[in-house]
Subunit: 327 residues, 2 copies
Amino acid sequence: MAAMASLYLKTSNPHSHSFPRLPKTHFTPPLNLSFRRQPTPRTRSATRISASLIDPDGGKLVELFVQESEKDSKLKQALNLPKIRLSRIDLQWVHVLSEGWASPLKGFMRESEFLQTLHFNSLRLENGSVVNMSVPIVLAIDDGQKNRLGSFTSVALVDDKDDVVAILNDIEIYKHNKEERTARTWGTIAPGLPYVEEAITPAGNWLVGGDLEVINPVQYEDGLDRFRLSPTQLREEFQRRNADAVFAFQLRNPVHNGHALLMTDTRRRLLEMGYQNPVLLLHPLGGYTKADDVPLSWRMKQHEKVLEDGVLDPETTVVSIFPSPMH
Amino acid sequence: MAAMASLYLKTSNPHSHSFPRLPKTHFTPPLNLSFRRQPTPRTRSATRISASLIDPDGGKLVELFVQESEKDSKLKQALNLPKIRLSRIDLQWVHVLSEGWASPLKGFMRESEFLQTLHFNSLRLENGSVVNMSVPIVLAIDDGQKNRLGSFTSVALVDDKDDVVAILNDIEIYKHNKEERTARTWGTIAPGLPYVEEAITPAGNWLVGGDLEVINPVQYEDGLDRFRLSPTQLREEFQRRNADAVFAFQLRNPVHNGHALLMTDTRRRLLEMGYQNPVLLLHPLGGYTKADDVPLSWRMKQHEKVLEDGVLDPETTVVSIFPSPMH
């Protein structure tokens, strides 16, 4: 599975173009994602007037790291709190949340966010606006862990070596209705859904939400950490390259010819639309994938080769690892 | 099961009041329904300045009846179209749609509306606004019916005596994924869900959406048709009574003491908030209910008795049948 999305920059230079034909309906359906961010062209002139990155969902990119100067005191605080040991997938979600991939979320979902995600695939923000949120990002605990939390309002999150990763503050514990979660997320409860069997069925019967403060950023030490650019780093990279449009291709497989055609064709269409420097983000999934998927290290080698061979142009392509698990 | 909702009228006289405490969240959750329609008080004065009914969802109350003068020609047209015989529940949905209870829907859902309902519990309108739509209102057909429709773009809908009820225009046929529909609507596919067993499991594998033109309004001839006020008639009744707030109680059971307390207490709170003439809509479900539910005719007798005995005040209560099936 792979996903194609274009995140256009705010710019006034693209020529006007026609939208793809929409299905007949009483109402206008949500626009095709590829075109959602396309600004209304104000002028047909090809003169470049301005270009800046689009806003993150919620208006501000969330980053959840404690400041260097506070690390020691936060660590001391964490050592006096009850602990939750994170699974590999939990840790990947901490990574996703901490760098703002799930902006405007500031931690694992509380019940209100969880229910909005299940029922509306969206979150309503304080200003009344609505942002897309189709995947529940939640932390499951079992009865024993719930009891150990007692009346604490914060909890330390630790890795498999019991090293402190983060503190979850102002926590809220609520029921983990696994069947409902599965039914509403996938539209089926048939056996064989990989994420369900890996991360939901064996998980605890409670969820704990709260605000995340990350003390030790997640590192993998697999030789690929330098490819793990955060949203902030990616935004800097796109600006450094003077991109006036960014289109992203997220995948958990080697690039095949169909993928390559989609990417080169999208670039061609963006140029036709008047963009002058579209940049491709090739965004392999770095988190949990299916047992029979090609491992990340091999996929990265394959992606490198695709650029070396000129199937994709290294000058206009950024390869970076998306830390999310498959869902 | 019963549902309580207050549909406040636009008025500037209510005193300010405090909202119920909301659960802690990163974001503001959708407000408690009872208070959603509450206008911001502009003045603390108790002087009545204006009062008018709130707008229907989508801005305009939908009514889908053909004009008297067109009935003959539409009937002639219908007789030359392929036919779909409606089940009792289908007919109840035609009733719901035709009077605008499901405004802004103009007919059985096409696929885009069906999917928006399943995934977002909402519909996005042409002007970008979003209205609540949590129940799929769809018409199922089987393979044989689908084949008989061939390349027709309209179809006649007939009742169990083969009398024409309506025409469905500009039709769209799409897959009826029953498991996904059930999972996303109820969050479970456990056996025993009454509506699923009555109207989904035995239904055809296709859905047909389109614009509805009702030629012969649905009548039941059960002696209760005079209690079946349409939204338009109800709005007239509320205006005739000079209501400055309307609160509705929908139920499919006899009124019991808990219900009565909810209703009288809501009235008390509305008066405290500064409304001067709150009117209660007691709104028994008229469509399909569970096999072991009390039949409508008996429930209506019970509701009458409740008003006779003064448990609810006839002066400030409108009893009317909501034609929808239980879902």
